[in-house]
């Protein structure tokens, strides 16, 4: 019998305690997996939307750290931006999170400049595109159509006005798949923000380099007080919701780590205390102290490895479930990566090593004569 089988046998001998420990570790790991993947997914989804549109830079208000920055009059800055070198197109975007149905949670309503490049990446799956800038019609993302129970030809009331659903599209970004898109003019009308946008999207020509992008940012900073030019990645990083979700994810990792280490520590310490006599026998039989340390570490590692694997599985299932809950649909697009999952497993094993450290040392320092006297 090798050391691993011996350690496994020890854990089998106490099935209730072993299962409870594994369950506690797996719950912590599941929380880490779910929250981190959701947090990354949220961040990635916004960036994916901007990248898919082909936007190189976004101009918005400096104080804007909310998901949807305060609107501003586009004509105040748009012509100047269009004159900057390498700028191919400057396109306005107005967004609102609105309730458009009593049966569904609020959805994003985007107003995009009609005929601009923002529409190019969408794939029409049903119906037709908007025919002009002033048409009282909207396009629904495939997920939004499903959530709102609407199809082409239906009508949709937004902010007291009725719109025809002219088409359904698919987008690589879940934030767009779950959205209602209309022309910028229509969005400005329903929100009573004539001429205003939340963002100006800038598309640069193919020859623009990183240095040119930095130069454009500097130009905006110096010539347009109150505005900032940032990449989609930077915009996402500034987003309050992303920051909060990241902070929550980090806090969960910390709390789950502490709880996991304490659970393993408690389990292993109890196990050592109960097996003092047994360890004394092993030492009397000639086991080396480092072999005892290895045995305790092996047991702790098996516990956390099993808890980690179960936790990862549970976390993935939990996230998948959340993605399909009516309230969250279209808002979560969790991102799982193999390195991340291995990292989580590594974290789990690390917890085992930390939690098993003191019990292992305690066991290895036992004197056989004292241990054998223990009842």
């Amino acid at each position: 019998m090798n050391l691993f089988s011996f350690a496994l046998g020890n854990l089998y001998r106490r099935p209730a305690r072993t299962s409870l420990t594994v369950s506690a570790i797996s719950l912590g790991i599941a929380a880490v997996v779910a929250l981190t993947s959701i947090s990354w997914g949220f961040e990635a989804s916004w960036q994916k939307a901007s990248d898919a549109r082909g936007t190189d830079l976004i101009v918005t208000r400096i104080a804007s750290e909310n998901t949807l920055p305060s609107p501003f009059v586009a004509s105040k800055v748009q012509p100047t931006l269009a004159e900057f070198p390498h700028v191919q197109e400057v396109v306005g975007l107005l967004s609102e999170m609105l309730s458009v149905s009593n049966d569904a949670p609020p959805v994003f309503v985007f107003g995009w400049a009609y005929g601009s490049y923002l529409w190019d990446h969408l794939k029409l799956v049903d119906g037709r595109w908007l025919s002009n800038d002033t048409e009282s019609a909207v396009m629904l993302g495939s997920l939004a159509a499903e959530m709102l129970h609407k199809k082409v030809g239906d009508s949709l009331e937004i902010e007291g006005r009725t719109f025809l659903v002219s088409g359904v599209f698919e987008s690589p970004a879940v934030v767009e798949s779950g959205a209602v898109v209309m022309s910028l003019t229509q969005a400005q009308q329903i929100s009573d923000k004539p001429g205003k946008v939340n963002f100006l999207n800038i598309k640069l020509d193919g020859s623009a380099s990183e240095a040119d992008i930095e130069d454009l940012k500097a130009r905006v900073r110096t010539t347009m007080p109150g505005f900032v030019a940032i990449t989609s990645g930077e915009l996402v990083q500034k987003n309050t919701v992303v920051r909060i979700s990241k902070a929550m994810s980090n806090a969960t990792v910390l709390i789950a780590g502490l709880v996991g280490a304490l659970v393993v520590f408690n389990t292993m310490l109890m196990s050592i205390n109960e097996r003092t006599r047994e360890i004394g026998v092993l030492l009397a039989l000639g086991w080396q102290r480092r072999t005892i340390v290895k045995l305790v570490f092996s047991e702790a590692t098996i516990l956390t490895l099993a808890g980690g694997l179960a936790g990862i599985l549970l976390g993935v299932v939990l996230t998948w479930g959340l993605e399909h809950v009516e309230l969250m649909r279209g808002k979560i697009d969790a991102v799982f990566s193999v390195p991340f999952l291995f990292g989580v497993l590594g974290l789990s094993v690390f917890l085992g090593i930390c939690g098993g450290l003191y019990p292992a040392l305690k066991a290895s320092r036992l004197l056989p004569s004292n241990a054998l006297r223990q009842e």
Binding site: R61, A63, S64, N66, L68, S70, P71, F72, V73, E96, M97, L98, S99, P106, E157, E159, G160, S191, D192, K193, P194, G195, K196
Partner: protein, 255 residues
């Protein structure tokens, strides 16, 4: 969106606060309140849900509040957005030179433009135009009344009183969070000191200026009817159109 808060705050509770450094006097606090409400133009869109004393919820509705609050001119326009029962129904009001609040009602369901009382409830909810102007901050009698804690936040009590014989509201007690520059609770009393309604800030948000403002409010009437108001969109720098207050002006000029 965060801009709305300023407005809404000013409107429904007139709840801003002054106070940096030394304890300000009640008059200084009231002045800060007045200053905090100033706006060249704003729009706030809100979901409103009225809950009757028996717990029954009325159909929720959406409204837009457009306002212009200056030292010389204070005007508000309230427009019903949805559902049909409120859609395109308008209330407009202004503060006149003598400090009075004049209100009119028009739009769908109304026969032309009609004068209405500023203390009347809007859309059968706890919303009242008079409250939105926060006239008590202009009353000459302002007193500090100690401090209190509301939802863990410390606030200073300010008692505003008027001697106007015909005023339906004779006293208002506001509890102002000086750090957040926000009145967390505003209680309105009649001449017999019976409470008429309480306006409470349930949730706050940060405005573009960095100051805090109300995102969610509740209005509790004396009979325990509650109106929940939540701002969902808005514009801190709303461009007031030339025709926004036309009806109000026309009615004033007798056209």
């Amino acid at each position: 969106m965060s801009g709305i808060a300023a407005v809404l705050l000013s409107l429904l509770a007139t709840l801003a606060s002054p106070a940096y450094g030394a304890e300000p006097s009640a008059t200084a606090l009231a002045e800060t309140m007045r200053q905090a409400r100033l706006s060249n133009g704003f729009e706030a869109r809100m979901d409103v849900a009225a809950i009757k004393p028996n717990g029954r919820r009325a159909m929720p509705f959406k409204i837009a509040v457009i306002g212009q609050i200056g030292n010389e001119k204070q005007r508000l326009l309230i427009r019903g957005i949805s559902p049909d029962a409120v859609r395109n129904r308008y209330f407009a009001a202004e503060k006149t030179a003598d400090g009075r609040i004049r209100a009119i009602e028009y739009g769908e369901g109304s026969a032309g433009v009609a004068e209405t009382s500023p203390t009347e409830r809007l859309f059968d909810s706890g919303l009242v135009v008079w409250d939105m102007f926060g006239p008590w901050w202009n009353w000459p009698k302002q007193e500090l009344g100690g401090t209190e804690r509301i939802a863990g936040r410390e606030c200073t009590l300010v008692r505003s009183q008027t001697d106007a014989v015909n005023a339906p509201i004779r006293e208002v007690v506001s509890c102002v969070d000086k750090d957040a520059r926000l009145s967390l609770r505003t209680q309105l009393f009649d001449r017999r000191h019976a409470i008429i309604r309480t306006i409470s800030v349930e949730r706050t948000m940060r405005k573009e200026s960095g100051a805090m403002a109300a995102k969610k409010l509740s209005v509790t009437d004396a009979d325990k009817a509650v109106t929940e108001i939540e701002v969902y969109s808005g514009d801190e720098e709303y461009l007031i159109g030339a025709d926004t207050f036309t009806k109000l002006d026309q009615q004033k000029n007798g056209k």
